[in-house]
Symmetry: C2
Subunit: 215 residues, 2 copies
Amino acid sequence: MKNRDSIPAATIERLPLYYRCLDKLSTFEEAEVVSSKDLGGKLGIPSTQVRKDLSYYGEFGRRGVGYNVVELRKSIGKILGVNKLWPAILIGAGNLGRALVNYQGFSKMGLEIVNIFDNDLNKIGNRVDSIEVKSINDLDEVINKKDINLAIVTVPANAAQEVVDDLVKYGIQAIWNFSPTRLYVPDDIFVRNEDLAVGIVSLIYHLSWQMQNEE
Amino acid sequence: MKNRDSIPAATIERLPLYYRCLDKLSTFEEAEVVSSKDLGGKLGIPSTQVRKDLSYYGEFGRRGVGYNVVELRKSIGKILGVNKLWPAILIGAGNLGRALVNYQGFSKMGLEIVNIFDNDLNKIGNRVDSIEVKSINDLDEVINKKDINLAIVTVPANAAQEVVDDLVKYGIQAIWNFSPTRLYVPDDIFVRNEDLAVGIVSLIYHLSWQMQNEE
DNA sequence: TAGATTGTTAATCGATTAACAATC
DNA sequence: TAGATTGTTAATCGATTAACAATC
């Protein structure tokens, strides 16, 4: 395997797509083997890119034949770390937070939300998908007791940095941030921003341009 | 302005960040002017990148001075098309769909969800944030009557393609897809996939690698 | 004028794609 | 052997960063 730091970020973003596609193939289809052309075709990715992406991690195929669906799925699962369940906490039991807790299919991707926190007294004690909402004051205890490394942040933008400071203090390593704000964290903490505003604006940009051209 | 097709996708993804930051600056801060260094600094983006991004669309600053906050906000808003409200429909009144409808701040980004659709008889007739959930059979009528071009798809993966085929048939131009599946659409329809599985897996990948290194 | 900062060209860096030997 | 497909090197393409003249 190559030095992990030199693997393109774009490759890492494509691996989950391969994984999910192979998972589907292994459940529903009968084919034992898939070629890079087939796999790429289903995802709109050139076969040469599929092979290149995989080559960063080893040799998984057989020349002249293709890739064994079940084996490749397993290999990618291991590379991604989704072969086990990673316990995570979610902070912010608003609409989005509740939606994520209820979201089916995360467990297939290695995520298990084990606790939910909020600072709203009206929400504390409620249950979301059978998980009780706890007070944000209990963060410390839960993170340490359950040895949690992953946190999902779905609080309003103005509360996010404060929450994240606590998370870092209590030992969280990776943060999935849904608040529309930039977070400041130490270098060794990994943050992924899921910025919905960027998503909608890029759509509107294209739409707006299309409309202008038509007129 | 440069030929719009030659503007990097990455630039278009950064414009909303500039826009939101300028919006904050114009509301809360007193400074009339901001430099590319200041603006970039707040977002973790090099000043040279900020200037380059803006340069695709024109000249917005004054040498030796910087950019007028209010003016630049307005200019970027116009470039992105968020200076007006774009009516959109949402299909799939599940948890995620309801979360998006309730999401504050979309209106600032030019999005207005005007109708919600579902095929579940138990949901049809309910209200989400004062918007009545309609039957998916009424899609055609609403799209045409209200001249809608933008649709948000939050239905399960196995229902997505069918819904999208209908949307395309009725004249939708741009689709924001939250279903974890690839959609097949004609070339002139713009689809943006908001794939949450990719998000969580990239976090788990980094976490998993970090853990391995520590052991 | 001196200091600051833009807008743009050129250099660098990184990712994608093409080509092809290896081999099933 | 002939056809198919991998894994990898080299070529291309695209995006970021550095450098600097223009100018406030």
